[in-house]
């Protein structure tokens, strides 16, 4: 058991009004300070290429096909089990493409492991941060919701290569 002793108030404090005036002075002083709040929905958050937003799939240069080959490495790397992939055969040279690629955005913890695991530069953390919908099902994103043209992710791709070059050896595989 802890006995808490009530603090003895001084005469000034017991008079009450001076304390009210002191408190209000803080409030009015803040009116003339620099604003640190933001009108959020109208004013967006500042995003840079370092921002690790929601993962997105990149499209190839042709703008049609995904760069993803459904190798399942992001699925295996994902610590939150947010990714589900089913592969299928394609006539393209790469032979394999995802039939289903789903990211459960409710599970995604935006850690960026998928981006690091990907051997095909197919998944990158975009600068998209907002996530709201009326149903849970709508927040399980499929390919249509995830795919982005490469240009939209180019800043992140460049940044990713810049930081990873510190430990990445020059690849000799063609």
């Amino acid at each position: 058991m802890v006995i808490v002793k009530r603090k003895e108030l001084s005469l000034r404090e017991r008079l009450y009004l001076p304390e009210v005036v002191r408190a209000l002075s803080f409030t009015f002083r803040a009116l003339f300070k620099r604003k640190i709040t933001r009108q959020y929905p109208e004013e967006g958050l500042p995003v840079t290429e370092v921002t690790r937003g929601q993962p997105r799939l990149t499209l190839l240069e042709d703008g049609e096909n995904l760069a993803c080959v459904s190798c399942g490495l992001c699925e295996a790397a994902c610590p939150a089990y947010a990714i589900t992939i089913d592969g299928q055969e394609t006539d393209r040279f790469i032979e394999r493409e995802p039939e289903r690629f789903e990211i459960d955005m409710l599970r995604c913890i935006l850690c960026g492991f998928c981006e690091e695991a990907c051997p095909k530069d197919a998944i990158f953390m975009s600068d998209e941060l907002e996530l709201a919908d009326f149903t849970r099902e709508a927040l399980i994103y499929d390919i249509d919701k995830l795919k982005r043209p490469k240009a939209a992710l180019q800043k992140r791709i460049d940044y990713f290569y810049k930081v990873n070059d510190r430990w990445r050896k020059p690849s000799s595989t063609s």
Binding site: C71, L73, A76, G87, I94, E95, R96, K169, S172, S174
Partner: protein
């Protein structure tokens, strides 16, 4: 047994087996690509090189798969010379091997991938482009060949030479232009082609049915027994996301199937993934429209007890499927004994798949087990006659309806009341009671194969909602009919 010194440890080795076998049995992971314990060793990949010292000779680097064990030989698998030799071999094997791991079906269980990963040799020194060969060469209905990935270990060639004894593949071409080809580009034949995908140490030979279906590390593997013939090959059932059987592979069992299995058994699994099946239980009571199945089997079980109560003992037919396990069979036998009836099982005619390797031609996996329990085998016609003359019949086990046949079942008069415990109902227009049962991928039990060897089947995936274990259902029936016996 021969005594050898392996990595400083004195161990016993089987003199009939090559040195690599002794290394593997004594926890020394010598890599291997061309060596397969079921095939003749040829020593073509040279990846199993180890250092061996015999007597007063200086130590030499030899391939472990082609070296017989001799008394007192000193083997060092991790000697610098041997290790370097293996490393250089690996570099040459990887010289033309494409970096296909992200799309390769073998990734995750690939010997080449595992060993390259262990060695950490992540960079190639070669500047020449890799071999460009055919990546999607179809070899018949089962197998597709990726010639670029092939490391020419010739395991597939030897599989046809040693196991099926009908050579169909060969290494064609010379030197770096060598490829695996069929004779005259004919498609592969036979019932054992699926094994090629298992013997291939890399992803060159893959199954068309498994191509790009799943990543192997996502598959949950459970040990089971094949139910497509009375051989009862040991298998591994691989299930994706606890829902869908994606692949069935043979499991080493020296007493039954060694390393192999036939394509009939290997590709029988799609039936397990069928979602349109009987789940839950229902009492039909002569209704023409099938009632909605209920998850609670009490009413159906009571109905079975009621319909057997009104029937006289000699007119009760107990017909099981040869797919039921010994455990379930014992319960069925007890139920039959409670009535004083004869337990029978449907015995389909032998099919024409019999060969001299594994397939017995008899499609019943548990014929011997049921016969040992005292069941009587009856043909579909005999069963139809039996059902026609009976007042109450209980049909038990998966496939029992399809084994008897839709026409024979439709001809059963409405005076005989039939209870069905099967996975499908469409075949039984006259059924009074239906209870869904799990398939052999969803049950646990024992089958006895044609030679009396026991094979365990285990539940690879959960049964659909409303389907309880067949042993539970049979126990509930037994409890009810035993009570009937006491009362009556």
């Amino acid at each position: 047994m021969t005594r050898i010194i392996l990595n400083g440890r004195e161990v016993e080795a089987d003199p009939k087996q090559p040195l690599i076998h002794a290394c593997h049995t004594h926890d020394s992971d010598v890599p291997m690509y061309c060596y397969h314990p079921g095939l003749t060793p040829v020593g073509s990949c040279r990846i199993c090189q180890v250092e061996v010292k015999i007597g007063e000779m200086p130590p030499r680097v030899v391939v472990a798969c082609r070296t017989p064990v001799t008394e007192g030989m000193i083997v060092n698998t991790e000697a610098p010379g041997a290790h370097d030799a293996r490393r250089q071999c690996l570099e040459f094997l990887l010289k033309n091997h494409p970096l296909d791991c992200p799309i390769c079906d073998k990734a995750g269980e690939c010997d080449l991938q595992d060993y390259s990963f262990n060695e950490g040799q992540g960079e190639g020194r070669s500047v020449e482009p890799r071999r460009q060969l055919e990546k999607r060469k179809s070899l018949g209905d089962v197998i597709v060949l990726d010639q670029e990935r092939c490391i020419l270990c010739s395991r597939c060639v030897r599989f046809f030479e040693d196991v099926t004894k009908k050579p169909q593949l060969t290494v064609a071409g010379l030197g770096s232009r060598s490829t695996i080809e069929t004779f005259m580009d004919r498609p592969l034949e036979g019932n054992y082609q699926g094994n090629l995908a298992d013997v291939c140490p890399v992803g060159a030979l893959t199954l068309k049915k498994f191509r790009f279906q799943a990543r192997v590390w996502n598959l949950k593997k459970s040990f089971s027994t094949c139910g497509e013939c009375s051989r009862g090959c040991s298998i591994t059932v691989e299930v994706l996301r606890s829902a869908e059987v994606k692949r069935v592979r043979p499991r080493y069992n020296p007493e039954v199937n060694d390393w192999w299995m036939c394509d009939t058994g290997r590709f029988a699994f799609p039936a397990w993934n069928d979602t349109e099946r009987l789940s839950g239980s229902a009492t039909h009571a002569g209704a023409s429209i099938a009632p909605k199945p209920s998850a609670d089997p009490t009413a159906a079980l009571d109905e079975i007890a009621a319909m057997t109560r009104v029937a006289s003992a000699e007119t009760i037919a107990i017909v099981a499927s040869p797919w039921i396990t010994v455990e379930e069979g014992a319960l069925v036998k007890s139920i039959a004994d409670a009535f004083g009836a004869q337990a029978t099982f449907v015995s389909p005619p032998a099919n024409d798949l019999k060969d001299d390797l594994l397939h017995t031609g008899d499609p019943c996996p548990n014929r011997r087990g049921l016969e040992e329990l005292g069941f009587v085998a009856q043909t579909a016609d005999e069963v139809a006659t039996l059902l026609g003359g009976s007042e109450a019949g209980i049909l038990i086990g998966e496939r029992v309806g399809s084994l008897i046949g839709a026409e024979r079942l439709a001809a059963v008069p409405s005076t005989s009341r039939i209870a069905v415990l099967d996975t499908e109902l469409a075949l039984f227009p006259a059924a009074c009671v239906s209870i869904g049962v799990p398939t052999s991928a969803e049950r646990t039990g024992t089958w006895v194969n044609v030679d009396g060897k026991r094979g365990r089947i285990s539940a690879a995936k959960p049964a659909p909602t409303g389907v309880t274990a067949l042993t539970h259902t049979l126990e509930a029936i037994l409890a009810r009919v035993a009570r009937v016996g006491v009362d009556g």
